[in-house]
Symmetry: C2
Subunit: 251 residues, 2 copies
DNA sequence: GTTTATCGTTCACTATATGTGAACATCGTT
DNA sequence: AACGATGTTCACATATAGTGAACGATAAAC
């Protein structure tokens, strides 16, 4: 059962290389990063270019991501119903608290914000939508991870953690205890774990089958957040519980 | 010189099938659409799924586009500088005219709106951003096509035209004359060619090398548009000329 | 409740497409 | 002018992609 097509896999990896690199990349550079010959990379690029997934800058011969990806990405956004479903809720949350309200989903081994309403305060924190990050990294993703299967949790925690700040958790056991505490409380409040001076409050959303599906979080500067911490934790939890019920989840 | 990788090409075509189809597609359906065996399609899907380009709905086993495409599409949007460059201009245009103002680019054989400011009138027309359409289809794309190379124009006009309305141009010769008129005037005003009761005004933007790079258009209900037609054509042309100069284009 | 049709998945096999590595052309720098 | 780097092309041998049939599961039809 060898069902992975190597050339297709290579082309996917190639495209994803652009996510954490310069806007434009050259053949030799890609060849080194992918560890395949220049000729092969060139064929990949020609093929992807003919499909609009890649485009070449005629001036410097370098390659960048093509507009077909933008077209497909827009289609993905149009597809997912629950972002539209959750939008009124995070809007209401943001209006009420004046802080950044986010809707976060799990996809494979990663998390991703797929909707957000930004804070209107002059001093504010912001996140990047449609960008993957590890499940252990933020309160928004940890409240999802906490309700995943034990195997899933073990798999995620078996990889080394990126230390975003001096306060980031790096010990798997400590993380496990934190996840247990999330299951006990039903939400999480965390500070300085990914960004110094930033506090997040997050709670999970469950679907009709009782499986965790997404989360909602409130993020902002710690000094402002601490003024209403308990009240806002309540508000976030009530919001997610309402959404879970909308999804058909029974307490 | 066989430099097209068939499996990569197939995977790209497969992904693009979702653009004009249901949200979810099955293996057999895709097999018929792609004209390759079910087993091969399955391998393609497994590979794409392992990279996050496709995801399978566990309930009905059907496949849909994955979030990695959203991630890549967002990166494409972040990359292109000129949309941000043009944004103030179309914003100003929309504020002044109260109609839909669009920024349109050419990519390969297609056109695409990559930015727009919508009209605030209760009765208004709208377009879909980040969606390909043929170069001959709208005034926004025709003013680009008009300044393309003769070979490019011939190639585009050699394919049969889609008849969006009873008034749509279907004769290549008639289209050529229209393009000639665009080059003569420097802009185009068109009505009912793609949508009945809708009028568009468009003018091209040139880069430093004098090559056509994009266009700006103003679109709205014909009855409202006709009240200020000449004045607004002037305004659009002035906007594009200003942007062309910003790009380094010399008259 | 049984049959039928259709679906997604798996498998062994062969033709074929793929990746290699070297040679080439082109550019900017030294 | 020589160099080093680039992107591009090519012929070839090997690994691989696509076939077509069989499987099990599911849902519709009788």
């Amino acid at each position: 059962m060898r069902s992975i097509l190597t050339s297709v896999q290579k082309s996917c990896t190639l495209l994803k290389l652009f996510l954490n690199a310069e806007k434009e990349l050259g053949v030799s550079d890609l060849s080194r990063k992918l560890q395949i010959s220049k000729g092969a990379v060139h064929k990949l690029l020609i093929t992807l270019e003919s499909e609009g997934f890649i485009k070449q800058n005629p001036n410097n011969k370098l390659y960048s991501l093509g507009y077909t990806l933008l077209e497909l990405g827009t289609k993905v956004k149009d597809n997912h119903d629950w972002a539209e479903f959750a939008k009124p809720s995070i809007q209401k949350l943001a209006d009420y608290t004046k802080e950044l309200a986010c809707f976060c989903i799990i996809d494979g081994q990663d998390a991703m914000y797929i909707d957000k309403i930004e804070s209107q305060y002059p001093i504010r924190f912001n996140v990047e939508a449609y960008r993957r990050f590890p499940l252990y990294a933020t309160s928004a993703s940890r409240v999802i991870l906490a309700y995943c299967s034990p195997e899933m949790i073990d798999q995620v925690l078996s990889q080394p953690f990126k230390q975003y700040t001096p306060y980031s958790i790096t010990d798997p056991e400590e993380m496990k205890q934190r996840l247990a505490k999330i299951r006990q409380l039903g939400y999480e409040i965390s500070s300085n774990l990914r960004n110094i001076g930033v506090t997040g409050i997050a709670a999970p959303i469950f679907d009709a089958e009782g499986k965790v599906a997404a989360s909602i979080s409130l993020i902002g500067p710690t000094d402002r957040m601490t003024q209403n911490l308990d009240h806002w934790a309540d508000t976030v939890v009530q919001t997610t519980q309402k959404l879970s019920r909308h999804f058909g989840y029974k307490l």
